[in-house]
Homo-oligomer: 229 residues x 4
């Protein structure tokens, strides 16, 4: 059994959420995959202040951030560490993920290599893919997917795209658009290309996650970290 966590980064429950549910369909086609969605819009996540206290003062899963006592701890930190794979889905705001998603990303610092907490290496070796939904046809979906991948690679994750046998619309991940329908709720229902790509991302993430040995998760690398100093 592998758990795939879909993170919905829209402040609204509409198009991005629909796309992410399709990813769940795709993941469901892989044996032993369990998919569930967390919506960031219903959580309060303060912007990171860059104080680095989480790395220095021994953060915990219950209280990963010594500065902000908000929903990142109880609702997110443990779920992230327990998951085997992530599908990060975001509307495109100004060529990248939403502020909601960025605030979330920035707060994952206690899961990074620099952490002194039990959350250290919290996302290492997990498999990740992205979904981006824009009002314009070529409205920043690609750069948003790259921003998602960048965050994933910083966390030592393994990145996949939209494996397909046909034209997937976008190779980096699922790229959806509400064009030409307009920025209306449910508009992506018309985007059959983008919805198929969302399914492909979900399936791909689940497939590759099934190959990663359980023992691999969160191990420190064999590298001599000091050589980077």
């Amino acid at each position: 059994m592998r758990t795939i966590l879909g993170i919905c980064g829209s402040p609204r429950r509409d198009n991005t959420y629909l796309a992410l549910r399709e990813a769940g369909e795709g993941a469901g086609s892989v044996e032993g995959a369990d998919f569930r969605i967390i919506e960031l819009r219903s959580l309060r996540i303060e912007p990171c202040r860059g104080c680095l206290r989480c790395s220095q003062e021994g953060a915990t899963a219950e209280r990963p951030c010594p500065t902000h006592d908000d929903d990142f701890g109880p609702a997110l930190a443990a779920s992230l560490v327990e998951a085997d794979a992530l599908v990060m889905a975001s509307p495109v705001y100004y060529g990248s993920v939403t502020g909601l998603v960025k605030n979330f990303m920035d707060r994952t610092e206690p899961l990074l290599r620099y952490s002194t907490s039990s959350l250290q290496f919290g996302l290492r070796n997990k498999v990740g893919g992205g979904i981006a939904v824009a009002g314009n046809r070529n409205g920043g979906q690609e750069t948003t997917l790259q921003a998602i991948h960048h965050w994933m690679l910083i966390h030592d994750m393994i990145v996949v795209g939209t494996v397909s046998d046909g034209l997937p619309g976008c190779y980096l991940g699922a790229a959806l658009t509400t064009y030409p329908v307009g920025r209306r709720p449910k508009a992506v229902r018309e985007d059959t290309l983008g919805l198929a790509a969302s399914r492909a991302v979900g399936r791909r993430v689940a497939e590759v996650a099934s190959w990663v040995p359980r023992a691999a998760g969160r191990c420190p690398s064999s590298a001599d970290g000091d050589s980077f100093r």
Copy 2:
């Protein structure tokens, strides 16, 4: 006289602020340029909820967002519209701008072409450049500068880099690092390359801004917008 607005996107007053002050030095070397800094860390800016009410309900400079009554209105909207150029400076968090900066970017929606308010086209034809400061040597400075440029181009701004006669460290804008000193306050003081690039960005932005005719600002384009529908 041209006003260059430096926007500091760090939650702390240290390395990014120091880099931005160097940009001010550079801008100051261009005749008729006036430089001032706004620090986002001292403002409360809620994440955009994507409700699009700012486009639909007639936002004003005093209250640009019908949903959030926070510091974006009184402290930022009018200053942005009045400026002739912007230098956007951000620490690199997970390969892109900070959540603080992203929240700010997302909230500039009432200044966009889709706005029905007096803020419409609020950043059109302004000149822009970027500064990015990272703890790693190649820790996302380039992708952060591209994210800044993307936001600027969405606003129909004019984008410039680090014009120089020598090796500028980075051509996209100023790329600074606190490596190998470590993520300490003032660590960029050791990064003479990055500080020189910051001055170059400030000077370049001021230079090109001096070429843009005052009348150009905020004019609707001559394009038939309908042709994009």
Copy 3:
């Protein structure tokens, strides 16, 4: 009078060429703009060998590359230096410009700041915009436009996007697709959105080029280049 040079980076004369002709239409709507197209497909341009002889041995406009005696010199170098603005148009091959375009870009080294030839600063202060045409809907147009911008900023050019009053399809530049028609010649004729964006890029480039003072061209910057070393 300002000369806008359209560079067509397709190995074939079809979709990218059609898009670039639209950019010419757009440029033509700006008073005093003269637009002409150079097609790379009809030129022989060898890949750069990285020997740096062009920087070290005094290249000339007639023979900009001491190593390769091909079409870059007679057909391109002088035209680039004489132009006031560029529109670079490329099909998307594997998420970026074609090898044809990349070979061209790499060979512009004698026009760079490090050159010891009369071509030095050959593209500085010119205005630039991009056009990208892909078979997939979100098939790398954005990353191709960013690659074009990156090359332009390295040459100290001034970068613009697709200024518009409506939804331009892509804000970074013109993004066209042959989807869902298929990768057939002339398929972009169906892409009214992309063709309108191409016109917008041509017009924008011509507009901003008309603001850049003639005297600005190719001046060394006022920066102390030594400060970068």
Copy 4:
């Protein structure tokens, strides 16, 4: 036993080659990994003409391109298909891979999903990582690594970065620079940070490749390709 193929995209045998050899060291630390290098500089690879004959006319491993009878076929195509993982190393030329590398990338079309040859899906499920070497400190290493990743994801590869327990210099892959030594042969020998990152990339690619089941290679996906049409 897994074969990791290091592709050296420099027209010269110096810094990029040295970095790639370090990746070989890293790969060698993983049991059962076999590493070998192909240098593109010693091969003649013509730019792709976009004729699509390789997809339409039944290319073969011996003659993957019906148009160009050059070194791509005998020297490269079969080696690519047989490898389990790739490390792509390129000097940074104008913010991206060299023309040499781009010509190579463009010519891998017969290995893509659209191919009708025995080379179809030739790179699917292989693991990939990147190395980029620039003369400037922040001179395009990140965007070059993203360009490499983009090509890999188009080929349905699995992308990894520089897993480490310390500051790796760059998280996207190995980022090296010859600054401040200067663009001299062997200059990267001074860049201990970049060389350590190169070893990390080699090791990471070999590690993840050891997890991918042999049977996974080149299988068509379970997706209904038609749904993308």
